[in-house]
Symmetry: C2
């Protein structure tokens, strides 16, 4: 291949970093791929860093030292998140979403690849500083946003099942009480899926009293693992006192008025 | 903002296209974002197209006409897919993956954001030419790869549940017979999730006889929708005659030898 021009190098580096969030690439990797000197690549990365800042595309960070290199974090600014949450609220306030029983239809939102990807970015935003080994969720509706959070943070995803599956080998199976309905539920996870001492972030689509999160915290204790962060797409305003103190959320659901078909919802922050 | 340089424009356009697969952006969009003339942008896009080709990063296509613009398809070449499938086989042949009953532990693979993203790209590869409205999967293990396929194709994802959920409104609930175990299973989907006349692609992690796919085809008939494509991560060699004629797969499972703890698996193509 003939010698590459600066704009070609910048295109290739930008594509690879964007496609692989939160993954460290060494300068040597790009130097070999693009047959370029590291000093040249450093200049290219300065330009990429600047345009990502200017156009709010996330953050390019260079990490020095032996294990160093360059990493792309798909962060969002506070204003970007606020604007996105307002857009979500507008989508969700549609009266056609009210379901008998006071529920909200939101499958189309949490399953959308474009929206779930952005939800994942927004939830991941709070966790870049944490030392984390994996993302945990519970089936079913939280899986897409948990996967997209895991993608942004570049961590494995573990999915807790509500029934034991013998096709997944030896499992730890546990009962827990849902915080709002006080019903007994079960959760089940293959023994091999979480190594001892792991630090995990729990991601889910919806939280009312926090019973499921308490159940996950207990389940993680069985694995000698620790929940170091909790992020949910939507939390309810009531009960105000959740079964856990600290969690991240994007939206706060005040109330669903079934008769008037009104959904009262607002950004969490 | 001062006038942008060519390499800055190429960085921004590359980032936005990569982050939004299979979505058409008009030249007017980029012209306004980057305060540049369309003729200049056309030259930029030629360069981006060339480097994506050279480095096998997918395909940049320009679509002419009133609804025209530029689109990024995260395609993979035949050799790239073959190499990826070989890597997956190497991962899967590990004797520790054999589970009593002749099953294979592959949660870590199908739930990994990096791997599922690549599986989604590889499965989507076969479907860019099709006129499709949405991607359908059935809970639970197929959801991540189905979401990533939907992301590559930029289509909504619909997840069929195995139990009716009253929190999702009126559902169509159906029994079907699994092709290999001959057991009665149920599937359930909110009425509003698929409009009449929709064309869908069904994506799943595993296919043996094809009973689940048959069930999905019947369920889609209830919605007056049509399954126009089927893609699975792994299909079994036996039974050779599946309940459907045409499907895409990445891997072919010949046999699991429980005593010897051997998994005989190979790329499907």
């Amino acid at each position: 291949m003939s010698r590459m021009q600066k704009n070609e190098r910048i295109g290739v580096i930008t594509q690879i970093l964007t496609e692989n969030p939160n993954k460290i690439f060494t300068l040597t990797y790009f130097a070999e791929l693009l047959s370029s000197a590291k000093s040249t690549l450093s200049e290219d990365l300065d330009i990429i860093q600047e345009i990502f800042n200017t156009f709010q595309l996330g953050r390019i960070e260079t990490i020095s030292g032996a294990a160093g290199g360059v990493i792309y974090r798909p962060t969002m600014g506070k204003e970007q998140i606020a604007k996105f949450c307002e857009e979500l609220c507008s989508l969700l306030r549609d009266s056609k979403r009210v379901i008998p029983g006071g529920y909200i239809y939101m499958n189309d939102i949490v399953y959308s690849p474009q929206i779930s990807s952005k939800i994942g970015r927004a939830l991941a935003n709070e966790f870049y500083g944490l030392d984390v080994d994996m993302i945990v969720t519970i089936e079913t509706k939280g899986i897409p946003i948990a996967l997209m959070t895991a993608r942004a943070l570049n961590k494995p995803l573990v999915v807790v099942r509500k029934e034991a599956r013998l096709t997944e080998g030896t499992v730890i199976h546990m009962n827990y009480i849902s915080g709002s309905s006080k019903r007994i539920q079960t959760m089940s996870l293959p023994k091999r899926s979480i190594p001892k001492g792991s630090k995990v972030i729990f991601i889910d689509d919806f939280m009312k009293a926090g019973g499921t999160v308490r159940g996950i915290i207990d389940l993680m204790k069985e694995f000698e693992a620790e929940v170091v962060g909790v992020g949910v797409f939507m939390a309810t305003a009531e009960p105000e006192n959740k079964l856990l103190d600290r969690y991240q959320a994007l939206l706060l659901l005040d109330h669903v008025n079934e008769d008037q078909k009104e959904i009262h919802i607002r950004p969490f922050h």
